[in-house]
Amino acid sequence: MIRVTGLTKRFDGATAVDSLDFEVERGEVLALVGTSGCGKSTTLRMLNRLIEPDEGRIEIDGRDAREVSPDALRRGIGYVIQGVGLFPHWTVAQNIGTVPRLLRWDRARVRARVEELLELFGLDPADYADKYPSELSGGQQQRVGVARAMAAEPAMLLMDEPFGALDPVTRGRLQDEFTAIRHRRGITAILVTHDMDEAFRLADRIAVMDAGKILQIDTPERLLRGPREGFVRQFVGLDDRALRILSLHLVSELARPAADAPAPAQWVAPGDTLREAASRLIWETGDSLAVVEDGRVTGEVRAADIWRIGARGGV
């Protein structure tokens, strides 16, 4: 668990980060969002003391970060830097093994961990371990960058625009992979992004920052339903908030029982989002859809229920 209190940083008299307070629970992902220069990257870099705070306190698992030497602190925190930052003169395996080697793991353990992580990220160790970063695609480099940060099983990950430089399709695929790995492994992370959609997809809670301050910190749904006046409202974007709220919910939450039958032409899976179900209902001009698992109908989802979720004050 990370607890930050009164975190402040000034550059040449100008306050870049102004007295931040927040907590991140074990297994939680917090997104810091805001425009360029709002202080989100500075905040992230203070957490592993790449920038020393002027005031305030950072506690990691109850321990003051200042009590640990910066190098030891950083070896216990995974860091995914903006623009990947793989070492071009090292192979993929050497890159991923950076922190384990700093921690003096023995060779066999490093090797085993590298192979485990490559498999976790869908890269065959036999093909990729000995490649150099220049031989990888952008998406593969990004995967290796995240794997490198996770190598020494850190208590938390700091991610600075981790999927920033990718095309939208690759970025979406990596975001899904990250979510899947999170659910399998349980990752605690603080993510910096200027992309609100990325924050909605990856984070449990979102902190909207402007001019060095956190204006609002809330779950995605509460942020969409009750954004504060001013910058938050503008930055979150309210034009399609009903659809965004629907994309935070799954069909399985609303599925009602239905008679067993073979799958009809149009259907949804329990793991699809309500946004996908809504889109299909609009297209079919229907008022209910079959929920199908393994080719058999297991339930139905009704349009009226979906609209209620997306409505003002909906549950």
Binding site: D71, R74, I81, G83, W90, L158
Partner: protein, 382 residues
């Protein structure tokens, strides 16, 4: 592309042919100092019309044939034939001549040899061979030349006669030259690399160091030797131990000091440039993962800066191989000894005997460094 390479080939072939046609291939002289009578390529003692025609055909072939590998081979073959004709001609001309007569290489030979070598280099560059392939491509001809030298093909040429007469001086000069170059390189590295790093970490250090080194670099070498004579002479008088080690106002010590001083600027400037060129994200990644500053320098910054730093060392080595010749003026030894002795005796072949090994050493050093630099660039750090 093909047109351009053919035009380039013509630029090398035409001067080579003109040189052979207009200038003597060998010079026959009554003794080593007087000027001699030119002997043209097609004289019966040298090529006779047949040999001359074969040589001309090889040189023209580099223009007519389009494939670069074939051009490279033809240019090397032309060089080999040039050398063989010179060796043969030397032997034939000396056969019925008195003992003191000398046969020197003439203007025609030098021009044709120089332009054939340029043609070969041009073809090799167009093949865009890697550094190791270039070394391999030159090893065979170099081996052939060495064998011909050993077999005595050139023994009757004046330059080899000078070698025979000055063999011990030559061997001492080779050892002395290498000692000057390596002896100055090692202290220059020990001082220059840390200074380059200082320039990189501290703008104030940079503002102090680089102007001083620039000033040193622009001091003429003879003036530098002169300036060093006074303090080093005083030092050896004051500290007898140093004098026992051979440190003094003249000799190898001031030469090594001067060469090391000249080596500093390229090493410092390239170390600074190499470290500056390492992207900030690399430092951020290394520090962010918990590398100490020293480890970051050793494992990330220096390896990534290595091609640029090695380029600086390559400049220094090639530059000092040339500059070391001047060291002979203050008794520093090296091939300069032969050059200055030859100038004193007006014996141009002795000057050449000192000069050609310097050129060969410089070419060898730059080929070697190219290969090393190429291997440090692997792994996508291009």
């Amino acid at each position: 592309m093909k047109q351009a390479s053919r035009r380039a080939a013509a630029v090398y072939a035409l001067p080579a042919l003109a040189g052979l046609a207009l200038l003597p291939f060998l010079d026959f002289r009554a003794n080593r100092i007087v000027s001699g009578d030119g002997v043209m390529l097609w004289a019966p003692e040298i090529g006779s019309p047949g040999g001359a025609a074969a040589l001309a055909a090889l040189i023209l072939g580099t223009v007519v044939i389009g494939a670069q590998a074939a051009r490279f081979a033809l240019a090397l073959a032309a060089l080999a034939l040039l050398l063989w004709l010179a060796g043969q001609g030397g032997t034939a001309l000396s056969a019925e001549a008195p003992q003191f007569a000398r046969v020197s290489l003439g203007g025609g030979f030098w021009i044709a040899a120089a332009f054939s070598a340029l043609a070969a280099a041009d073809a090799a560059a167009r093949l865009s061979l890697g550094a190791l392939a270039r070394i391999a491509a030159l090893a065979l001809p170099a081996l052939g030349f060495g064998l011909a030298l050993r077999a005595g093909l050139f023994d009757e040429l004046s330059i080899l006669r000078e070698y025979t007469a000055n063999r011990d001086v030559f061997d001492a000069a080779l050892g002395g030259h290498l000692r000057l170059v390596l002896g100055s390189l090692i202290p220059a590295l020990l001082i220059g690399l840390p200074l380059g790093w200082l320039c990189f970490v501290g703008p104030r250090a940079r503002a102090a160091i680089l102007p001083v080194l620039n000033l040193l670099q622009t001091t003429p070498s003879i003036a530098m030797f002169g300036l060093l004579m006074v303090p080093l002479g005083a030092l050896s008088r004051a500290v007898p131990t140093l004098r026992d080690w051979g440190v003094g106002g003249i000799g190898a010590a001031p030469a090594i000091v001067a060469l090391a001083l000249y080596a500093l600027l390229p090493i410092v400037a390239n170390t600074y440039a190499g470290l500056t060129g390492v992207p900030e994200t690399m430092r951020d990644a290394g520090r962010g993962m918990g590398m100490s500053r020293a480890r970051l320098l050793a494992r990330v910054e220096l390896p990534l800066a290595a091609p640029v730093i090695l380029t600086g060392i390559r400049i220094v080595v090639v530059q000092n191989i040339g500059l070391a010749a001047v060291a002979a003026l203050i008794g520093g030894g090296g091939f300069g000894t032969l050059v200055f002795r030859g100038m004193g005796q007006a014996a141009m072949d002795l000057v050449l005997l000192g000069t050609l090994p310097i050129v060969a050493l410089a070419i060898l050093a730059s080929l070697m460094f190219d290969a090393i630099i190429e291997t440090t660039r692997r792994g996508g750090a291009r």
